[in-house]
């Protein structure tokens, strides 16, 4: 799968309260959640983000609460992929489980003009291309087992296939 979209930059330790505040957790609808994405740390963001956009975080992206509403809100906004130097473990699991594409890239993506520069992400090749500069970054590969969940489109489909392989 190849995505191309505008990049938005976020720093280190972006917590799930920042991604979606608890006061909005009375719904499970990704579209309703998306309206408040990153609202407390970047109030204008829900009005800026558009389908296909790519979020770029620093270390420990998605730390804190286990709320799956965080990756759901990101998915609901139509974000195509989240790239971070590292992910907090529950967010990492959740993103893979619900089929939100993520990439861990240890190298700092530098010189990106947020909201205007575009990135091209190749999930199979594990590469991220900064289209304005042509610079290519390499992402960490997924273990085969996780790649399988991703290929299936999430944990539910993966487990279904395991429990009932004939289907």
């Amino acid at each position: 799968m190849i995505f191309e979209g505008r990049a938005w930059l976020f720093g280190d330790n972006i917590d799930t309260d920042a991604i979606i505040a608890a006061r909005y957790l009375s719904t499970t609808d990704p579209g309703e959640l998306a309206v408040h994405l990153m609202e407390d740390i970047k109030p204008e963001f829900p009005g800026l983000v558009a389908p296909g956009d790519i979020l770029v975080g620093g270390e420990n992206f998605g730390c804190g609460s286990s709320r799956e509403h965080a990756p759901l809100a990101i998915k609901g906004a139509g974000v195509s992929c989240v790239i971070a130097k590292s992910f907090a473990r529950i967010f990492y699991r959740n993103a893979i489980n619900i089929g939100l594409p993520i990439m861990e890239c240890r190298e700092e993506l530098s010189g990106i003009e947020p909201g205007s520069d575009r990135l091209k992400v190749d999930l199979e090749q594990g590469t991220i291309t900064h289209l304005r500069t042509g610079r290519v970054y390499k992402a960490e590969p997924f273990p085969p087992f996780m790649q399988e969940i991703i290929n299936r489109g999430g944990l539910i489909e993966y487990v279904k296939a395991r429990v009932n392989p004939a289907k």
């Binding site: 009375s26 420990n60 699991r93 489980n97």
Partner: protein, 443 residues
Amino acid sequence: MNQKNRLDHGSASNNSTNHGSTHGSTMVEKILAAKSGKKRVAPGNLVNTKVDLALGNDITAPVAIKEFERFGVDKVFDPEKIVLVPDHFTPNKDIASAEQALLIRQFAQKYKIKHYYEIGRMGIEHALLPEQGLVRPGEVIIGADSHTCTYGALGAFATGVGSTDLAAAMVIGEAWFKVPSTLRFEFRGQLPRWVGGKDLILYTIGQIGVSGARYRAMEFAGSAISNLSVDGRLTMANMAIEAGGKCGYVQPDQVTFDYLKGRVTGPYEAVYSDDDAVYEQIFSFDVSDLEPQIAFPPSPDRVRPVSEAEGIELQQVVIGSCTNGRIEDLRIAAAVIKNKRVHPAVRMLVIPATQQIYRQALEEGLLTTFIDAEAVVSTPTCGPCLGGHMGILASGEKALATTNRNFVGRMGHPQSEVFLSGPAVAAASAVAGKIVHPEEVAR
């Protein structure tokens, strides 16, 4: 002021050079091996384990139930091994949250979930499950709540997951894990008065940072832990996630067994780390001179001793949550605030974490002490901890809370601020109207 230096004979050593196959295993490695049918496992291995208990709450279970329904199955793997606790937005704060609670209630009825806790029996999940005897040493417990790591205090492998993980576990009774490497934290010395489990864990998070234990297990040990009550240990394991930890744990000992007696029915097998287990890193802290600790907003690792926080004016104090809403916490707070009054500029909320704790506090006269001091006493709820209800902050307000997180907007308005502490500092500061050392109010 130079407390940090005094404590810095605390050292970190690394013994991960021993890669021989003869070395022993940590408690977590042993539990994950046993529950995945393997003889032994090593950090980095991916394992599929049996789940002894799977937990959801009124925020996470609705998402899990939606996912569960996609399986198209007509039963759960074991109705006795699923726990559903509507504790976050309950007693329901609005129609939307009531609808979510209704969804869980109906699911629990339909699938005959044994451990569903309705209002009146409900408590904050991570105080409730140990109290009700649902947590046993040596077990694998997952919960769609990040503070599920609390149960490591009783020698279980317990970790937070998301709703989809919970949904899958409700169907197949299994979950996958990457075996974590382990960081060992040794706390030497005797804790000073007014210093407890919360101060130890805040200090630790301050030392290693919010991603210092990312993906790792945290083993808490040493004389200060041996002498720590189960309530204090639960507080410590609870906040392992605030350092990014997969789990935090204390190996079972007599203190553990005394707590489990009369709560837990049925056999269980305590598991211990081998003497020659391999740790990624070992930290050793002398805590004899540790001051009460404060985490400054907006991150639980911005930790300083109380002497560096004194004088910060407060509008709200919260004593409660899965971190510090247990009976010992209420006793400490009541001892500090007895025969005193909450400062006129401060709202103080006391939230016993479970009905049993509520009743115990009532019988011990603690609630009268709080009410006499003009504090609010609430029915069990996570409430203000996550900015849900029952004590939301306005713009520009500052709160001191015994809770676990102080991220931007955590307790209300994005321009409000939350400081974290243990119950002694919180109660004393409510009286003073500003952050103070408990000694200044209690003497």
